[in-house]
């Protein structure tokens, strides 16, 4: 095999910083490999990607040491534009990297820059759009595309130069499970059919593991793991350094202290059967709770639309309950969230909070939107929590900061914090108002494992103190872990509203709703015990009687 990328002793320090962001990186990637790069937010992944793309010199002159070779040629002797012909980079938010107005123009942009004739550009554009599944959309406005289509367009816009190495920075962080699967299959096709070497940065290792034979793990600017992904679980399980969100089956192996650490269901089933005696009974708890939010016959139609975005919606949220709202993109989830947050006026139906009209109590509803950065407006974390909120004591804020794990950062500028810290700051600002209902839109998108666990802890703590949580998510594992109840929307209608452990056992319903089946359901099926939707339930079922392990 030929070397596509060779990095030797690479270190980088941004101007004005004492710490090196990259420390003595050594990495070899062969032509045709598919490599997954993982690590906590701020560990240096993006800086490494910029170094490979030759862009470090363009973003502020820091100190760069070491060498990067692309196809055995030193990258330092090439300009970023020349490297761009060899290395295609797709960034995390596709719409930020799109420049033109229409799909065809966007894809053809790189070839125009090479001065190629229009006839050739048109032909190449058609071919690339076909490859990424956007054929016939040449004239479509880029703003009229869905999120998944935009990601494919961003991919097409770099594929047109026929790069040898494709780098993707968190490409699926905002996609639903079906979208993730389709996109990864597309990458696999490009790798197999066109021989493109692929390097992907992603936190959702649990969903991507089966597509990537090799994992590179980074921590604090260093590569701490570089080997087969199948061996990673044994080596890395339990370490929090690289924020790896491992497959749930691997987490179960660790929690049950099994002799194997593998996402392979058959292997784990055998290991459990060998080491544990499984309990065939599965008890379910039903807690009686008072109703907090009541939605009665809610329908909503946008002025520009002929069809209803929400059609005759009826549901309740009880006090202390955590409810997950799931379904395809465009099912009506955001419309419902906006109605509940009072951002959109209810036209048909009624909404009650504590038996009073919701509009009267709208200040008792906290809503954390998908892009928390837009909600940051103060100069310090402490100020964010107390902004426009006189009713809260200093002691409460200090306690909240500690729970948010932001006490040491209380005087820091919020927008300069890490992604997870920024999200927790906004969540803290919501919690400081002591809302009765907390609405969360995709609260875990793009978060590494550590940050994810911290957010989950905060949500569970809030619900335990009597608060109700209503959150939108595509993350089946998250919903399976924390939701008491799940509501599934499809085409503006509720197609399912039941306890989480009932919904997640209904495979047909999940597939019909574009969701994946929780790994624990599949595993417990193999174990021949009643279906469990999360690790806690599996542990309760298999942990009652331990064979030879006390």
């Amino acid at each position: 095999m030929n070397k596509m990328l060779k990095i030797e002793n690479l270190s980088y320090r941004y101007r004005g910083r004492d710490e090196w962001t990259l420390k003595n990186i050594n990495l070899n990637i062969e032509t045709g490999e598919m490599v997954l790069l993982a690590g906590r937010s701020g560990c240096g992944k993006s800086t490494l990607l910029k170094a490979i793309s030759g862009l470090l010199g363009t973003t502020g002159s820091g100190t760069l040491e070491g060498e990067i070779f692309l196809q055995s040629e030193a990258a330092t002797s090439k300009s970023p534009e020349e490297i761009g012909l060899l290395v295609g980079t797709v960034y995390q938010t596709p719409e930020d990297q799109l420049f033109a107005m229409t799909v065809g123009d966007e894809v053809g942009f790189a070839l125009e820059n090479q001065g190629l004739p229009m006839e050739i550009i048109k032909k190449e554009v058609t071919e690339v759009l076909f490859k990424v599944g956007l054929e016939g959309l040449e004239e479509r406005s880029i703003h009229a595309l869905s999120g998944g289509q935009r990601q494919r367009l961003a991919l097409a816009s770099v594929l047109i130069t026929k790069p040898k190495l494709l780098i993707l920075d968190e490409p699926v962080s905002q996609m639903n499970p079906t979208g993730v699967k389709d996109f990864l299959n597309l990458l696999k096709e490009l790798n197999e059919n066109d021989g493109i070497t692929i390097l992907v940065v992603e936190h959702r290792v649990n969903e991507l593991a089966s597509y990537f034979p090799r994992l590179v793990g980074m921590s604090k600017g260093e590569i701490v793991y570089d080997d087969a992904i199948s061996k990673a679980w044994e080596t890395l399980s339990g370490t929090r350094d690289i924020g790896l969100r491992e497959p749930q089956v691997v987490t179960l192996c660790r929690e049950l202290d099994l002799p194997v650490y593998s996402p392979d269901m058959d292997l784990v089933t055998t290991a459990i059967k060998t080491n544990y005696t499984c309990d065939a009974t599965n008890s379910q708890q039903n807690i009686e709770r008072e109703v907090l939010l009541k939605c009665e016959k809610i329908s909503y139609k946008y002025d520009s639309s002929k069809t209803y975005a929400l059609d005759n919606i009826d549901f309740n949220v009880k006090k202390g309950e955590i409810v997950a709202l799931m379904g395809y993109n465009g099912a009506g989830k955001s419309t419902l969230m906006n109605l509940l947050a009072g951002l959109t006026e209810t036209k048909e139906g009624t909404l009650f909070l504590n038996n009073e009209a919701l509009t009267r109590n709208i200040h008792k509803v906290g809503y954390l939107r998908q892009e928390p950065d837009l909600m940051l407006l103060a100069d310090t974390v402490n100020e964010e929590l107390t902004w426009n909120n006189d009713a809260v004591s200093d002691d409460f804020i200090d306690d909240l900061l500690k729970r948010l794990k932001l006490y040491d950062e209380r005087t820091d500028f919020p927008l300069a914090l890490s992604k997870g810290q920024r999200l927790r700051t906004v969540l803290g600002a919501m919690l400081a108002r002591k809302p009765e209902l907390l609405l969360l839109d995709e609260p875990t998108t793009g978060q590494d494992r550590n940050s994810l666990e911290e957010i989950i802890g905060l949500i569970l703590g809030y619900a335990a103190s009597g608060g109700s949580v209503f959150f939108c998510t595509h993350d089946v594992e998250l919903a399976g872990n924390i939701a008491d109840r799940v509501i599934i929307l499809k085409d503006g209608k509720i197609i399912a509203d039941d306890a989480a452990n009932t919904i997640f056992k209904n495979k047909e319903l999940l597939i019909d709703s574009g969701l994946t089946i929780p790994p624990m359901v599949l595993l417990t099926e193999k174990l021949g015990i009643p279906s469990c939707i999360n690790i806690k339930e599996v542990k309760a079922s298999v942990g009652t009687s331990i064979v030879g392990r006390q």
């Binding site: 534009e81 001065g115 892009e371 426009n388």
Partner: protein, 291 residues
């Protein structure tokens, strides 16, 4: 129509969208020079009407026309009203009195507040200038792909980095407006009162920081993306394309007209400083009446 669509250049007439970037920029520059050179309110009004006429023949959508009307009226009204009140040149003719100089306290402090006729006219002229530019500027924004303008600027040998910065503003216009509305929604959600949750005005002062932070991030990603797609490649044949003869003739005619009008104005101003030539009397008269 969403806020973002309102600022997108995708619903204009096909002929306007397909006009070459060079032609559009020449029209824009011509209007810019003419609005500076011309002082006559009637001629300025004709120029302004022409810019509105271009919107109509270019099939600017009704929603966009409503936005344009609002911006124009606010600008015109603000300019005329402020100049009418605070016009300081002489002669000035009070049309009516708001605060009489004889009024106790206020009259003494302000020495009287009047609406001046000359101020109104001066304000109208200044307002028409900015209104014309706003109208023609939005026409170009609403009917152009950023690449179209980029091609034009690069083909005029403008430094690619500068050209990119200029057109990025147009690329980001719809995004910025949509983002501003998103930020306002987010800020409303930070309020813990019923009134605060529905108010927009009280959150406006806080909009800058999150919006600026987002724009910086977006701009950086876009810059990295275009760099790696070879935008700054030194390629002399880049954007080698044909500028249609009809557009070329139209553009040159427009340039000549602007040069001619500017020359008339220069000659007229020179005459006021003593450089008077009897043979040019017809130009002096024409300029005085129409320009």
């Amino acid at each position: 129509m969403s806020v973002r669509q309102l600022w997108e250049g995708s619903d204009s007439a096909k002929w306007l969208k397909e006009l070459d970037g060079k032609t559009k920029l020449i029209v824009l520059f011509s209007f810019a020079i003419l609005t500076i050179v011309i002082d006559n309110p009637r001629t300025l009004f004709i120029l302004f009407t022409a810019s509105i006429g271009l919107h109509l023949v270019g099939k600017t959508s009704l929603q966009k026309l409503q936005v344009l009307a609002l911006l124009l009226l606010l600008g015109l009204w603000g300019s005329m009203f402020s100049q009418a009140l605070f016009f300081s040149q002489t002669p000035r003719t009070p049309l009516f009195t708001i605060i009489s100089p004889g009024l106790p306290i206020l009259g003494t402090i302000t020495e009287g507040l009047f609406v001046y006729k000359e101020g109104l006219i001066y304000g109208a002229v200044q307002g028409l200038r900015s209104a014309t530019m706003l109208s023609i500027g939005l026409l170009v924004c609403w009917s152009s792909d950023p690449r179209q303008l980029l091609k034009a600027l690069v083909s005029w040998k403008m430094i690619p980095q500068v050209a990119f910065m200029l057109v990025t503003a147009i690329r980001f216009l719809p995004v910025l407006v949509a983002e501003a509305s998103e930020v306002l929604v987010a800020l409303r959600l930070r309020s813990n009162t019923k009134i605060g949750r529905n108010s927009i005005i009280r959150h406006l002062p806080y909009i800058a920081k999150p919006l600026l932070a987002r724009c910086l991030r977006r701009a950086q990603t876009l810059a990295l993306s275009v760099v790696s797609r070879g935008f700054f490649l030194d390629n002399s044949s880049k954007y080698g394309y044909k500028w249609s003869n009809t557009e070329k003739i139209f553009s040159w005619t427009l340039i000549l007209l602007v040069v001619l009008i500017s020359s008339f104005k220069l000659v007229y101003i020179a005459s006021e400083y003593g450089f008077y030539y009897g043979d040019l009397r017809i130009i002096y008269d024409w300029t005085k009446i129409y320009l």
